[in-house]
Structures are given as C-alpha cells and as structure tokens.
C-alpha cells in the first residue's frame, strides 16, 4: 500500500458573481449568484514512503488546493485521499500528528516569542520525547545554522532566517509526510541551498516523504526524484524527473562563437527542428530537435556561413521545458 493514495480527487469552488458598481453589490447581497469553478479535476496518484515529489504547475493550476486537501485543511468535493491509512479531513488531529507543513509566508512560529519557545511549544503539542527533541534540535541547528537565532524573537528575523526556523519546526516531530508549499519563495541562493540540503539529508536519514510545490525549478532539479505536473486542474505528467526531461526535452541549445561570417543563416529545414535564437557577427545561438538532427549536422551547416571558434552545447533545462508546456508548444503524448 502506498503511503499517500489519491483517487479521482475533485474540488469545485463556489465563486460569487458580483455585478459592477454599488447597485451590483446590493443586488448580490439580496440574491447572491454563484458559479462553480473546478480547481482540481479528477486527479489520481500514489506516493510511496520516502519519495521526494515535486508538484509543479502554473499559478492557479490547482497546486495549493491539492496540498490543502492532502493536509486536511479543505474537504474534497469528491474522490478519496488516504495518508498512511488516514482520511485527512475526517481524522484531522490524528493526521496532523504525522505530517508537517510549510505554507509560503504564513508562519507556524509564535511571532512575539523567541524561536526556542516556539520549538518548546511544538515539543509539547506533538509530545516529542525529550531525547528525540534534543537530538533533532542539535542536528537541525547544525545543518540550518540556527545557533544565533534560537534566542531571537521571530518578528526580528529576516525572511531567510525565519524560513530556516520554520523548516526546522516542521521536521521537529519526525513527521512521516511533509508538505512544502513554496518554501523557497523570496529567499537568497545560499538559504535556498541550505534548505534543499536539509530536505535531502533528512529524507535520506529518516525516509521522510516530501511533497514540494515551487516556482523555482532548481528546487526540483536538486531535491526531487519525481515530478507531478498539474495544469488547469488535471495531471499532465507524473513520473521520474529524468523521464520528464526525455519526454519533453527533445531540444538542444547550441551556442557558437564565430568569425568571418559571410551571410545570415537561412533556415533550410523545418522550423520546429531548427531555430535560430540569436545571431550577430560573433555569436550564434541555435535550438534544434535532437531526434531529427545531430550536433554534427548543425556544425556542418553553420560552417558553411562562417568559421567556428568555439561552441557550447546545453540540454534544455526544466525551466525551458516548462515554459514550452505552459505556452502550449508541447502536446502531451
């Protein structure tokens, strides 16, 4: 049995339709009109214990709604969710004991108190045994570099400091599943790396299952093994990160440094297979379909126009692939 089982999950919101102007508002007050909007439309997936899953999609694709249902904050319109055998929105407190969650900028720490006080309250809430608490605190303090922060009030911390404390608080009770909704939003690179390392370390040591939503695809590249891509409420990809790249990332970008260019490059082949992204006297940047053309083909055709001094070849990253998917350039097959 998988740790998390989601079957035919649907969430519909009732959105109130207001007409413009004061009159419209008054009218709405007396006879409110609603329309239904489907945020999550019949999704299913299983997640095994210890998996690191990147849950990605555009703004409004249904990511947060899914996470809210998984955590039990929101009741599904229909469908089933089982987290470690528990239906989250029915046995809320029981479920809360086994999960941890970070929701973007919302803090679970006590704003006016020193960080360590929040940790102590969390210890009491989750009934963490003394030994376990001390062990985790020591370890987390080390990895996340919290030593100087513990005695400071949360309100006096910077965004990055706060998020490090937040992450520590989330893992303190050894949760089985952790949901991280945009944990790296607005953080600088060093803090991001610090947090990514922490997630990976804890996953390795404690086999914690992590579901991560983010807009920073470096988070996914570095942390996750599996990607679930949601678009307009439906899952359009679910599988290993490498398979995702193979399936969608058929393009290679080649950059040439050239000299003695005699004329502009004319595109001979089908545009989908070969595209000039950038071209001037010294640089040429080309994107081509690797299924149809080889690097040698490209080098040959470029050398008809100029003398190649140097070249740099790069596979498409997640970001480029996603951009294409969002723009509708890649059709799922």
């Amino acid at each position: 049995m998988a740790l998390i089982e989601v079957k035919n999950l649907v969430k519909k919101y009732k959105i109130s339709e207001k007409e413009h102007g004061i009159l419209g508002y008054v009218k709405h007050l007396f006879c409110p009109k609603y329309k239904e909007q489907t945020a999550v439309n019949n999704i299913s997936f299983n997640i095994e214990e210890g998996e690191l899953v990147g849950y990605i999609g555009e703004n409004g694709a249904g990511k947060s709604t899914t996470i809210k249902m998984l955590t039990g904050l929101l009741t599904p319109t229909s469908g089933e969710i089982l987290v470690n055998g528990i239906i989250p929105n029915e046995k809320r407190i029981q479920n809360n004991k086994q999960i941890g969650a970070v929701f973007g900028q919302k803090t679970q720490l006590w704003w006016d108190l020193p960080v360590i006080e929040s940790f102590r309250l969390i210890k009491k809430m989750y009934e963490i045994p003394d030994g376990e608490y001390r062990k985790n605190l020591k370890k987390f303090t080390e990895i996340l570099d919290l030593e100087d922060l513990l005695e400071k009030q949360v309100k006096n911390l910077s965004l990055g400091q706060k998020m490090r404390c937040e992450i520590a608080a989330t893992f303190l009770h050894n949760p089985k599943v952790v949901y991280l909704d945009e944990p790296t939003i607005g953080l600088d690179i060093l803090v991001k790396e610090n947090i990514r390392k922490f997630i990976k370390d804890i996953n390795k040591e404690k086999n914690t299952t992590v579901i991560l939503t983010t807009h920073d695809l470096k988070d996914i590249e570095e942390v996750c093994d599996r990607i679930i891509l949601i678009d307009k409420g439906t899952i359009i990809f679910d599988g290993e990160k490498e398979r995702f790249k193979n399936q969608y990332g058929k393009h290679i970008i080649a950059e040439f440094i050239v000299q003695n260019k005699n004329s502009n490059i004319t595109v001979e082949t089908n545009e989908e297979e070969f595209e000039v992204l950038e071209e001037n006297e010294k640089n040429i940047k080309i994107k081509f379909n690797h299924d149809k053309l080889t690097v040698m083909d490209i080098v040959k055709s470029i050398s008809n126009y100029c003398e190649i001094l140097d070249m740099h070849i790069q596979e498409e990253g997640l970001e480029e692939i996603l951009k294409e998917i969002y723009r509708g350039e890649v059709i799922n097959d």
Partner: protein, 262 residues
C-alpha cells in the same frame, strides 16, 4: 481532555510571556480602560443626582453591581479575549490554517492566544469598587464572602466568554467585521443594572437566553441579601451548558469552513 488543558495552559503561558514583551501597551491599555470606566461611572452618578434610587437600588448598590460585572468582564478579557475577532485577526490573514494543522483542537489554540492589554485595568478597578462599596454598605467582608466573590467572578467570566465564543463563529463568514460578536458582547451592559427596571422580554433574554444576569445581578443579590444558596450550583451548570453549545457550534463551523476554504 487533560492533554488539551495542559496544552491550553502552555499556549496561555506563551501569551502571558508575549504580553510581558509589550509592557508599555499593557500600561497604556490599563490606564485608558480605567479612564473609560470612570466616565461610565460618572454617568451613573449623574443619574443619581436626580433620583435616590432605581427600582429600590441606591447609588452604592448599583456601583457594587457594576463592580461585580466588571470583575467577570476582567476574567473574560483575560481568558477569552481572542475569540472577539477571529475573522479579522486569524482567518482573513490565513493564520487560521496553521492553527488547523496543529495536533490539537483549534479552539484550544484560539483561546490560548489571548491578546488582552486591558484585563489588568478591569481587575484593579473592579476590586476597588467592590471592596469600597461593601464597606460603605456596611456588609462585613467575611472569608466566605471573598471566596464567593472570586467563585462567581470566575464563573461569570466563563459565562460571558462562552457567549462570546458561541458568536465568534460568525468570524468564519465575516472576515472583515466582528459586529455580531461586538453587539452581543455589548448586551452585557444590560446586566450592569438591576433587572427589575426592565420589562419581561429583556429579563427573559438576560436570564435564560444570554444569561449575563448570572454574571452580575444574581450574585450581587446574594452578596446584598444572602439567600441565594442555590446559585452556587446553578451558575456552574449554566457555564457547562454554554460551553457544550459553544464546542458543538465550533465543530460545526469548522466543518463548514473546511468545505469552502478561503
């Protein structure tokens, strides 16, 4: 249950620590509250410039009643202040989601987040009023009377706090205003006067429906006349009933809230 109470005490302890961080706020809150209450007392004094008594109650009687109510309010303010505007303070800002993710009933978390800065002012003023009026009315301050005043003061606070908690669920729908809670809370002012002055309708309301009178009028009657022994049992019973209703309604509201989201 024991676990919930322990957690409540931990949360409440954290709130007290937090208040210590804001000593100036507390001091200002205390002073402004005392000033505000003194203005209300001046109004009562003006009324008594024109009459000897109201429904048989003299100025001193009325101030005693006022002090008894204020003691109950101070308890409400100290313990249940956070239910006053959950919509604005917690739900609209999304803080409520983090509360829902804790492995404890959300009501425990909410109640534990007291943010009062005025309770201390109420307590000081109410004790001054009660003691001075008892002396003036030549009622001997016995040990059993002190115990009774504390007992009814705390339970009165639980009555008003319970009523406030029941109506606080409106915050799940009206994020921006707490008018409903505010209006209901203001009705306690009716019980700052002897209920003889009201018609049957209002008497029924503040005795049976929103039993504010059990936080002030009936205990005061006991202090003055002293033949209300059954009150010792009736008041805790009222507290229990109110809080059972409050918990049931809260659970219902939580269920509704989770199906709509925000």
């Amino acid at each position: 249950m024991v676990r919930n109470i322990k957690l409540y005490l931990s949360f409440f302890g954290a709130s007290i620590k937090k208040m210590m961080e804001y000593r100036v706020d507390c001091l200002v809150g205390m002073i402004s509250q005392i000033a505000f209450q003194i203005i209300e007392l001046i109004f009562i004094w003006i009324i008594f410039q024109n009459t000897d008594n109201i429904a048989g109650w003299t100025f001193e009687h009325l101030l005693l009643l006022y002090g008894v109510m204020m003691l109950a309010i101070s308890v409400t303010d100290l313990l249940f202040d956070s239910t006053y505007d959950i919509g604005k303070r917690l739900i609209r800002k999304g803080k409520f989601d983090t509360i829902l993710l804790r492995p404890v009933h959300p009501l425990i978390s909410v109640l534990g987040e007291s943010e009062t800065s005025t309770a201390l002012g109420y307590i000081v003023l109410s004790i001054v009023l009660i003691v001075s009026m008892l002396i003036k009315l030549q009622i001997s301050i016995t040990f059993s009377l002190i115990i009774k005043i504390i007992y009814f003061g705390i339970l009165g606070g639980f009555i008003i706090g319970g009523i406030q908690t029941i109506f606080s669920i409106t915050g799940f729908w009206t994020y921006k205003s707490n008018e409903v809670v505010w209006s209901v809370f203001q009705l306690h002012k009716l019980a700052e006067y002897p209920i003889e002055i009201y018609n049957k309708f209002i008497r029924i309301i503040i005795t049976f429906i929103l039993p504010f009178a059990f936080a002030s009028y009936y205990p005061t009657l006991d202090y003055l006349i002293g033949d209300q022994t059954s009150l010792i049992f009736i008041v805790p019973l009222i507290v229990v009933v109110i809080w059972i209703i409050a918990i049931i309604l809260w659970n219902w509201a939580l269920k509704k809230y989770r199906s709509t989201g925000n």
